[in-house]
């Protein structure tokens, strides 16, 4: 009996104190595919977490690594890059550049202590609305698990 009480109490205690963590994810989405998919997903009334804030770009290759760095520096918990499948880039070869940049960036991030799951590159065509929803859901869950990044707390007083 005593145990139960304690458990209940602590549960209550936790519920009171901990506000569930909602990750902030920035999504840089290619207008021709992933962005279109997000549009369609909406039209199709597909449900997925609202954690991703979308920045539309014409091509995933427009995404300068600085943007991602900056996003993390300024409080994002994750960044999603959405582009067309390799070989299907509306601009012929942009997504190959993206692939290389993100690969290099991820390596850099691993040296800087940013978990791999916080930066995600996905090829989602306009028709793949289910995939889009799945990716958003999956990424949100993974980042949620990782917890807040709170980059500024690394070097700035609270």
């Amino acid at each position: 009996m005593a145990d139960t009480t304690t458990t209940e109490k602590s549960a209550e205690h936790t519920a009171e104190k901990v506000v569930p963590f909602e990750p902030k994810i920035i999504g840089f989405l290619c207008w021709w595919c992933t962005y279109a998919a997000s549009d369609m997903a909406g039209t199709s009334r597909l449900k997925y977490p609202p954690n991703v804030s979308i920045i539309r770009v014409m091509c995933s290759s427009r995404v300068d690594p600085s943007f991602i760095m900056r996003a993390f520096a300024e409080g994002a918990d994750g960044v999603l890059i959405g582009g067309c499948h390799l070989g299907e880039c509306h601009y012929v070869s942009g997504n190959y550049k993206t692939a290389a940049r993100i690969a290099l960036l991820k390596k850099t991030f691993s040296q800087l202590g940013v978990e791999d799951d916080r930066l995600r590159l996905e090829w989602i065509s306009a028709g793949e609305i289910r995939k889009f929803a799945e990716v958003i859901t999956d990424m949100t869950e993974k980042v949620r698990k990782l917890g807040p990044l709170n980059w500024r707390e690394n070097f700035e007083p609270k």
Binding site: R62, R70, G127, I129
Partner: protein, 597 residues
Amino acid sequence: MEETNEKLVKLTIDGIETEARKGETILQVAERLHIDIPTLCHYRFVKPYGACRICSVEVTIRGKSRFVPACSYQVRDGIEVQTRSEEVIQHRKMLLELMMARHSQVEVVRKLAHEYGVDTTRFEEMPSEGCILCGLCVRVCSEVVGANALTFVKRGTDRYVSTPFEGKADTCIACGACAYVCPTNYIKVEDIRDRKYVFSELSLGPTTPIHIPFAAAIPGIPVIDSHACIHMQTGECGICSKVCEPDAINYEMQDTFEEVDVGSIILATGYKTFDPARAEQYGYGRFDNVITSLEFEHLSHASGPTGGAFVKADGSEPKSVAILHCIGSRDKNYNEYCSRVCCMYSLKIAHLIREKVPDADIYELYIDMRCPGSGYEEFYNRLLEEGVHFIRGKGVEVSQMPTLATTTPAASNSKLYVKCEDTLLGMPRELPVDMVILSVGLEPAEDAEEVARIFKINAKGDGFFMERHPKLAPVDTLSDGIFIAGCAQGPKDIPDSVAQGAAAAAAAVSLIDAGEVALEPITSVVDEDVCTGCKTCLVVCPYGAITRDEEKGVAVINDALCKACGCCVAACPSGAISQRGFDDTQIEAELAALLMS
């Protein structure tokens, strides 16, 4: 060279003095003089063979006479040829008698023998199966076709025609030339379930290489199927060009690729029907009398294979037909969407069957009847009045044996049993029918994916092309100037397709009419003060829109060529390139705003 070597020889045939080129055979010379020499194993496109000996004639040379086969004996100077001397006739008759002992049932032999007054034979009759061993098939296959798929087996009286080592002839290219040259029809092309066979070892394709594409083709001229044409496959044959008097055969003609500069493109690449073999439970491909709706169209068409008669595989008239809706549509296993056209065409099929076989029992097995359209519902009502049985319940299986204990097997063992659940009666049923028609759904065309890639447009999850906006831009695509119409965009019936086609045409025309195209405004621009001309952007740009101004040592972007992807902006290591109206600071501001909470 050819001409100087050509020597003419003088000879007499049946008293007629004539000249011939060296190397010509007696038969060729005789043909020219309209002297008839009978042959059985001769064919002008293969080498002389000299097996039947019917063409033997008497040749006198320097006073000595001998018998030679006219088909292979090459004329010499001074020879005297007798094609119908008493002795020649005598020997020919003897050979024909020998022929008659074996092949009296073969028409060419009987006719030829009759010409020589040979109607009976003195020899013991040992009827053959019809092959006179002329070797034409073997020779055509080897000399003309170059396939060597046929050969003689054994020797002497045991000799017969077969495939090498009597196995499956994998060199056979299915041309049917053997059957064509066979003078006795011993080699026949037989149809067995859509495949054509000569022997069980030789199976042929469905059409001849030269054919008119379809009955009402315009222009109605034959084409050569390069995959089936012997000449194009092996370099041999070429008979058609030899026999075509106007010299209209052209093997060199190639598919040509025409480049057309256009301002807009409408993609109306259509659909393909669902292949019901994927749904094995319906027995398509296993049971002869299970056909698809499209095959029914072909079958019932007035210029179709039966001239419009609606018959079963055995040629008899079906007395009961089940039409199964939603095959491959509205089905999680195949396609979830509704193909939209099947309900109405299934009604039409029922109506046509009713016309052709007035007393037939016709069953429509449906999930829902979807008849939204002008006059559609009325047509449905008419069918109800025509006595078509509508069963609300999807057909689930077609078998040759009843599977429900309650079903009484029909008297005829050629019946098919269609199992379904009649949801209105609330019980399972099994219908014994003569024929099953599968109303197959619509699927994206075979090459839809490829087409989408080429035109840089997107396909939806079901594979049909995606419109820019389902409500606001139904014929546009994300690529400017490319429009879609008809079933390429999704299943739809004819009126809808026509309407969409008109819309796409109007959209395309409006673009053309405007005469100018609005360029992408957010092109990239170089800050010449910062740019060092490092050429990184030149490597990156897929459109070649960036060049280096060698004088200034900076990159220059051609606005007309720039498609505004922004790749160079990100790539520029010195930050000298920015995108008009979409520069880094704007994106960073967007970012900051999003992260501001």
